[in-house]
């Protein structure tokens, strides 16, 4: 088993005109994944550089959340490999996987706060489970995390009393409770009003810089994520159709990428679901 702290794996990523050496936290190699008969991913490869914010974008229903579950080891790929710090996640034992998961964290779309406990207890939960800290120390840590997301005043509330944006911020505080190295955001902006959205964008950016986190943001909100991402992958049609810095992506000459970025109704992704012609439908086959 490789020593966790001494892995220096360098891969060059070309950004604009300069080329720098970045350590990759996650490497996905020729991954294929099927749900039943439906192919979700067909032989995709991507890298998540350490300490950066990587965005994975794509139309709804493309299986972006599935990618995060694959990285988290909740699903197993049909082919290919996923490496977290050079260690293959699919071939880990369950106990090893649970150890590795303590270094990663995930912000679920719904927030997934535990409904029967207060905001404070929700954030204290991972600390109480995984550390031997005293209650006094746990209280300090929890309040600090809540302060970071601006919800220190809401620590006594129950999740049902929070607005959607506040719930997601509370969940974010819980996700950083154990100071993970990797945090995965599953559609963090979905269904948020402009103010909450702005708050979340700011938080993701600040946390990434302040805690030196590696962030993976899965989303289809183009504008928001392009403003904070260091690197962008666009998934569509079971494969990666575009990759690069936000600037490179904007200048991409792929029709599909442009349709996605500009939100055109028709293009390579057709407006009409495949069907007979109108004439056939209404006038009969003849």
């Amino acid at each position: 088993m490789p020593n966790e702290t001494n892995i220096e794996y360098h891969v060059s990523i070309t950004t604009g005109n300069s080329e720098f050496l970045v350590k990759n936290l996650i490497e996905i190699e020729s991954l294929s994944f099927k749900r039943g008969e439906r192919v979700i991913y067909d032989n995709i490869s991507l890298q998540i550089p350490a300490g950066k914010t990587t965005a994975v974008m794509g139309p709804s229903g493309i299986g972006k959340t599935t990618l995060l579950k694959l990285i988290g080891g909740q699903l197993r790929p049909d082919a290919g490999d996923i490496k977290f710090k050079q260690e293959s996640i699919p071939s880990m034992s369950r106990s090893r996987l649970f150890k590795v998961r303590r270094q990663m964290s995930m912000l679920f779309q719904s927030g997934a706060l535990f409904t029967e406990m207060s905001v404070f207890d929700n954030i204290a939960y991972p600390l109480r489970e995984h550390t031997q800290l005293s209650e006094a120390l746990i209280e300090t840590v929890v309040l600090m995390k809540l302060q970071a997301v601006g919800l220190r005043g809401a620590s006594k509330l129950m999740p049902s009393e929070l607005s959607g944006g506040m719930a997601r911020r509370a969940a974010l505080a819980r996700a950083i409770a154990l100071d993970p190295e990797l945090i995965m955001y599953d559609e963090p902006f979905a269904g948020q009003d402009p103010i909450s959205m702005g708050v979340l964008v700011k938080l993701i950016k600040e946390l990434n810089n302040a805690l030196n986190l590696t962030s993976v943001v899965v989303t289809h909100d183009v504008t928001e994520v392009m403003s904070i991402a260091d690197y962008v992958y666009i998934l569509a049609d079971k494969r990666i159709i575009g990759a690069g810095t936000p600037e490179q992506i904007r200048q991409s000459d792929s029709d599909l990428v442009q349709q996605f970025l500009q939100g055109k109704a028709d293009g390579p992704v057709p407006f009409h679901y495949p069907a007979n012609t109108l004439e056939q439908e209404f006038m009969g086959a003849n």
């Binding site: 579950k69 998961r101 995930m106 997934a112 409904t115 995984h130």
Partner: protein, 258 residues
């Protein structure tokens, strides 16, 4: 030929479900006992046990009263109304206590367990536990399984006790059967091992089956509103059928041909 293929598919699906159910059971039962789970289990015992007390006691009372009423009208024709006590006690201790408690428990607590776990799955709470490196089978499912296993035999004993008192209420207080014969013939007829303990053993088996079905159906549910509603229905239907079927098997083993 299509039906043959469908038959094969549904058979395979069923075997796969049994496999998944065994996985859930093994994952939650076979574990080093953790101190943290004790308060969680006690809390669940309150939810599934204490909160089921009222329905169990009211049902027990009425079943006992009906048994006494029915028994009396039959026995009095033969002048054997003195045997009302053992009749009520034996039918409740051996059959009605464990079976009716299990059916009520499936409807009252089993369905709630399924819906709760199913909703936790739908709202990604189970996934988020997994991602926090906490096994939901140990932390969420196991306390509920133990709570069901421990609560239902106790509920059965309470049901039987209240039922026998209900029989006393109707038989002795209302219909005028002699109180002395009601209790003394019951005492001399009912045996500790053959009757009381066999009823308790039945209820332990039912507790195991009903709770297992309930937690598995919740854990395995499709995380949508239809999925959870279907899972809840299945919990009640499957556990009721399992209880009635197993009751026959257990009765045949315990009280069958010597």
């Amino acid at each position: 030929m299509e039906w043959l293929a469908n038959l094969g598919k549904s058979t395979l699906d069923r075997f796969a479900a049994v496999g998944r159910a065994s996985y859930v059971l093994a994952g939650s039962l076979i574990a080093v006992p953790q101190l943290k789970n004790v308060p969680l289990t006690i809390k669940q015992m309150y939810v599934v046990g204490v909160q089921s007390l009222s329905i169990i006691m009211v049902s027990g009372l009425f079943i006992g009263m009906v048994m006494a009423l029915q028994g009396y009208t039959i026995l009095v024709d033969y002048g054997a109304e003195g045997s009302l006590g053992p009749m009520v006690a034996l039918s409740i201790l051996r059959e009605l206590g464990p079976v009716v408690t299990a059916l009520l428990f499936a409807g009252r607590a089993g369905s709630a367990l399924t819906a709760e776990i199913g909703l936790m799955k739908a709202t990604e709470q189970l996934s988020s536990l997994e991602m926090m490196a906490i096994d939901p089978l140990r932390r969420i499912v196991a306390p509920r399984l133990w709570a069901g296993l421990l609560s239902m035999p106790m509920l059965t004993v309470i049901f039987s006790a209240v039922g026998i008192l209900g029989g006393h209420l109707v038989g002795v207080e209302w219909l005028g059967v002699d109180a002395g014969s009601y209790w003394s013939i019951m005492q001399s007829t009912v045996e500790w091992n053959a009757d009381v303990m066999n009823g308790v053993i039945k209820s332990i088996v039912f507790a195991f089956v009903v709770t297992w079905i309930a937690i598995f159906k919740g854990y395995d549910s499709v995380p949508t509103s239809e999925g959870i509603s279907a899972a809840t229905t299945q919990t009640v239907v499957y556990s009721s059928l399992a209880v009635l079927g197993l009751d026959f098997v257990l009765t045949a083993i315990m009280f069958g041909i010597e």
